[in-house]
Structures are given as structure tokens and as C-alpha cells.
């Protein structure tokens, strides 16, 4: 009923939106949001490919991949936010351009 290409187009659009956010924004929390969006788009891609092309064969590779991506995204968000809050306490800023004491 729904062709595979629709899901792939949707995930491509979300991915490019996420990449746009991660590149243009200077606030690190915003960048993290963009990264989460990219991970979600990749998840939809994986699930769509698995469901349409591999699920009738009976292997669970796609689902496992998606679960591991969930776990990795959650761990990365937790540690990233802890780092951002800790950096804010020291430097009083979360703008990525201003966190540059390692520069030069």
C-alpha cells in the first residue's frame, strides 16, 4: 500500500533537516537536537529497509540494529547533556563558538 520510496524520502528530508540544524546553530543544545533528529531519520531508514526487503525472510537484523541505535542515542544524549551543563557551570556559556579555550 505504501511504497518503500515514500519512507525513504521522508527519512532523507528529516536527515537533511537534522544536518542543517547541527551545522548552522551555535548553541550546543541545539546541535544535540539536530544530532538526535539525524539518528531518528536513520532509524526510520533502517526499519523501512528491514520491513520491506528482509522481514519476510525471517531474520531480525534490522530490529537489532535499531535497538542498538536507540541505546547509543540515549547514552550519547545523557553524556552530552551532562558535559554541556558542566561546561556551562565553568564557562557560563553554551555557545559552541565561545567554548574555545583549547584553540590555537
Amino acid at each position: 500500500m505504501i511504497p518503500l520510496s515514500w519512507f525513504l524520502v521522508f527519512s532523507a528530508v528529516l536527515f537533511s533537516l537534522g544536518a542543517f540544524i547541527a551545522i548552522t546553530r551555535r548553541n550546543t543544545i541545539f546541535i544535540l537536537m539536530g544530532i538526535e533528529l539525524m539518528l531518528n531519520a536513520a532509524n526510520i531508514n533502517l526499519l523501512a529497509f528491514w520491513r520491506y526487503l528482509h522481514a519476510p525472510a525471517g531474520d531480525m537484523d534490522g530490529l537489532m540494529f535499531i535497538l542498538i541505535v536507540f541505546v547509543a542515542a540515549a547514552a550519547e544524549a545523557a553524556v552530552g547533556l551532562a558535559l554541556i551543563v558542566s561546561a556551562y557551570r565553568r564557562r557560563k556559556t553554551v555557545i559552541a563558538n565561545e567554548l574555545d579555550t583549547l584553540k590555537g
Binding site: 505504501i2 526510520i44 558535559l83
Partner: protein, 172 residues
Amino acid sequence: MTGMQVIFLINALVSVLAGIMLATSRKLIHAGLWLILTLFGVAIMFGLLEASFLAIVQGVVYIGAIAILIIFAIMLTRETMEESHGKRTRWILTSIVALITLAGILLALLTWPQSSSLTLPLSEEQQSIAELGLALVDPERYLVPFEVASLLLLAALVGAVYVAVERKGEEK
């Protein structure tokens, strides 16, 4: 136009609009709310792909935990909430690059012969969660990724707590 297609189109439209509002919102807290709407749209997509377990797990993990964590972090770093729209050229350049990437992906998609394949119905045992559970603890299948993922979570937990704890006397 079947019902599923209508639901897909409405959902895709809402999600992409929420993503665009997320990319262009001035206030950080509004961006957090748009992110939640986008993640909800992704969860509905999972439901459309007949992975109900993953849809609900997406709701629990992303919306119920990660989004709340992001909002917490936004509230704890309050001074820099208003994002100034500096560097117009950077925005335009990046949007051009993003659009070119999108066009490239779509082109690759349209020249691929299997791109309009439709779904085959799933057998009953593939839809059960018990199968998923069995696959996760089977030593010949996915036990090692499962254990590695749990180690990753443990490392993230310990690391996040250690980084975020405010030690007395180390502030100045």
C-alpha cells in the same frame, strides 16, 4: 488513496513542518517542543511500519526521557536562550548544501529499481515480542551486541554522573 496512505501523508507533513519550525525557531524552549512533536511523528511512522513495540519504545525513550533531559538542560542554562540570527550567509550556504544533498539522495532513490516495492505480509511469529526477546539472549544470534549495549549504558551512566556532579570548592 487508502487510509494508511492518508495517515502517512498527514504524519509526514506534520513531522517535516515541525522539523522546519525546529530549525528556524528563535527560542530554545520552543525548539524543544517542536523536537517532541517531530519525535512523536517518527513514533507514528514506526507504527505505520508495523513495529508497534519499537513505536512505544521510541515514545518511552525519546519523548519520555531524552526530550525531558534536553528541556532540563535548556532550563539549567538559561542565560543564552535567545538565539540571535547572526551570519545570514552561513544559513544560506548550509541550506543550499543540505538541499543539494537531499536532491542527490532522491536521485539515487528514483533510479533504484526496487524503490516502489510494497510490503509482504509478516507471518505471525515474526510479529511477536517473544521472538525479539529470544533473539536478544541467544548466544548464536544477538547476545554479544546486547551485552555490549548494556556496558555502554553503564559507562554512560557513570560518566554522566561524574561529569555533572558539582564538587565543592572546585568552582573558582
